[in-house]
Symmetry: C2
Subunit: 350 residues, 2 copies
DNA sequence: GCACAGTATGTAAGCGCTTACATAGTAGGT
DNA sequence: ACCTACTATGTAAGCGCTTACATACTGTGC
């Protein structure tokens, strides 16, 4: 190893120009003469110079860094969104700082403050529900900010996402149209998860309009995990044997629910219909393949990158609200309602 | 909005001490008297002071930031590892800079250089295969560095992972023990993916020792996606109807393969056995549930965080090689070999 | 030939923090 | 009472870059 890493000053020396010129050459090349640029680039090359990010950030008040806090990265929809967000940022020389909240508003607040301390140029959070101090901190920084996964036309902040209420309605409509009357629900924890609440509300609204009700007893709340979904479904089956369709908060829960149906000897969709949410890649290669809502995670990530870069480079901070379409993807786990003999009755002997 | 954000200088003023004392209070509190600390914290509180990350980084040459480049975050095993890595870092006040290589060494190099420019204190990559310039850059920086997902006792660099060759052997052994002789393989793209290569090599080695061969024609290489796995399986079934077991490069490919079996009217494990790799959470709630290898992604992430923090805080950079155990998880997609009448022959008439 | 506008480059003052070194204050040993 | 050894705090010099401003140079129109 030689001595220290080369600095901009070393480059300036080697190229026989001033530090200002080198800096300009890097940041506003149009202001530097062609031949000088070449000399500078040659010097950079031979010295192996790499700009010092922190120094740059300190002097320019821009870190070329975006912060994102998701509930957990270990969930296909969040990781898909982050995948596209990171790609979009990278294309423009921006780097992603990633943190997780574990669905806790307090943890989220803490992570947000850490990120802001790091000096991010933009921030991405999931949903609208946040600790009040989060909003305070953001406003103090005046940086572009996006609420992901939610679309609220009246929101004070930018949001890029879907209309979760409408999505819930669509699911309910699908099942009602198939003739289902007794519908159960396996939901994620709704506390501090506006998406889960809104989807459920959509279901409830629609049923109400149809003169039906979603009894609270038919809602089981649990963490988003396959095993939890499985247990929840067993619970529903035991407590409400008349249920003929179950709306699950996401695909993972739905897979667990399908497992439970199988274990309970219920055929899907013959005895019971099941829906998911997110349309994870794998649910289409399963048998039966899952009826679910398409979650525009990838587009969300890409749009977010575009929006942030746009605002940052323009030096503006306008609120933008982007609604992304979701589609109901009907596959094999939902079917027409069919009367099922109650458990315990003599089946097949009539 | 008030005026500017408060600086350390403002805090010093408000608390009636020097900037050095405030800085010490934040970084080495044991060197500051109790009562002075309280005054300072009070000032910080009322001013709403947040340290400026870039300034801190510039002055101290530490960014409290770790960089990681994974092939893609949109794959359960990588996202699990990143989940635990991020948590571990956060616990110690470190932040994660995340980038993706899309399985391309060139993209990876570019991302690594960007991260190094940002001034990371430690770096995490996946696998041992990297662009030569990656190693050069890292050595110039002298920062702790880990190769994840691989365990190589003779590696020049730290690594935390599993013995991929041994894992491949175990899978082969399992199938051979069940009586399978004609084994197929659906692998991820092996070019610049040492994990995939080594697993395949393990399979090959074991078969060879048993006097069997893994013909190259029985290996289908494709991207890690359910749909690709499905197509690959159809291909294998068509070209090699005598195959009675297929080893898949990961669980996603295996799910696609199961789909293909179903479509082709082959029962699993009756007609054909299928194995995965990674033990994703959902594969245990499927029917049939998947036989697979457990990938210690979570432990990997946690260990990596511990190792990096340890090295950074100690100011050292010792190479450490940690092997994590993997287990074969036998479930329902593998079973004893059973002779199957070839397609097209009159089945069930003998 | 001269004033003027326009362009290319250089000078130097920070950005907000850390930290080596200097200094003041305190306690213990003799 | 004096010296020594600490500990607690202050002073000030950067860390490597950006950028406002100053300066030098070029070409134009009159």
């Amino acid at each position: 190893m030689k001595s220290k890493k080369p600095t901009l000053q070393d480059v300036a020396h080697a190229a026989g120009v001033s530090t200002a010129t080198v800096s300009r050459c890097l940041n506003q090349p149009e202001k530097v003469r062609e031949d000088v640029q070449q000399k500078i680039h040659a010097a950079i090359e031979t010295l192996g110079y790499v700009p010092h990010g922190a120094a740059r950030a300190l002097a320019s008040r821009r870190t070329r860094t975006i912060g994102a806090v998701v509930p957990t990265i270990d969930n296909a929809i969040f990781s898909e969104a982050i995948q596209y967000l990171q790609r979009g940022l990278s294309k423009h020389g921006y780097t992603l700082l990633l943190a997780q909240s574990d669905f806790s508003p307090d943890v989220e607040l803490h992570e947000v403050q850490t990120l802001l301390g790091r000096g991010i140029d933009g921030l991405v959070l999931v949903g609208e529900d946040h600790h009040p101090a989060v909003f305070e901190s953001i406003e103090k920084q005046q940086i572009p900010y996006v609420n992901l996964w939610t679309y609220n036309p009246t929101s004070k902040y930018s949001c890029i996402g879907l209309d979760n209420i409408a999505a819930g309605r669509k699911l309910a409509e699908h099942l009602v149209t198939l003739g289902h009357k007794e519908i159960g629900n396996i939901s994620g924890i709704r506390l501090s998860n506006d998406r889960a609440r809104q989807r459920l509300q959509g279901v409830r609204d629609y049923l109400q309009e149809q003169g039906m009700q979603l009894d609270d007893k038919r809602i089981v709340e649990c963490r988003y995990s396959g095993e939890q979904g499985r247990l929840a479904m067993h619970d529903l089956i035991r407590r409400h044997p008349d249920i003929s369709a179950v709306i699950c908060g996401n695909d993972i829960l739905a897979l667990g629910a399908l497992c439970a149906c199988h274990e309970a000897g219920l055929s899907v969709p013959g005895d019971i219909s099941v829906t998911g949410f997110d349309n994870m890649e794998i649910v289409q290669v399963l048998h039966p393949s899952l009826t679910t809502m398409n979650s525009p995670s990838r587009r969300m990530g890409a749009h977010t990158a575009d929006y942030l870069i746009e605002q940052i480079t323009a030096g503006t901070n306008e609120v933008k609200r982007i609604e992304l379409a979701t589609d109901l993807i009907v596959r094999e786990t939902t079917g027409a309602f069919r009367l099922r003999l109650p458990f315990g009755s003599a089946q097949g002997t009539v």
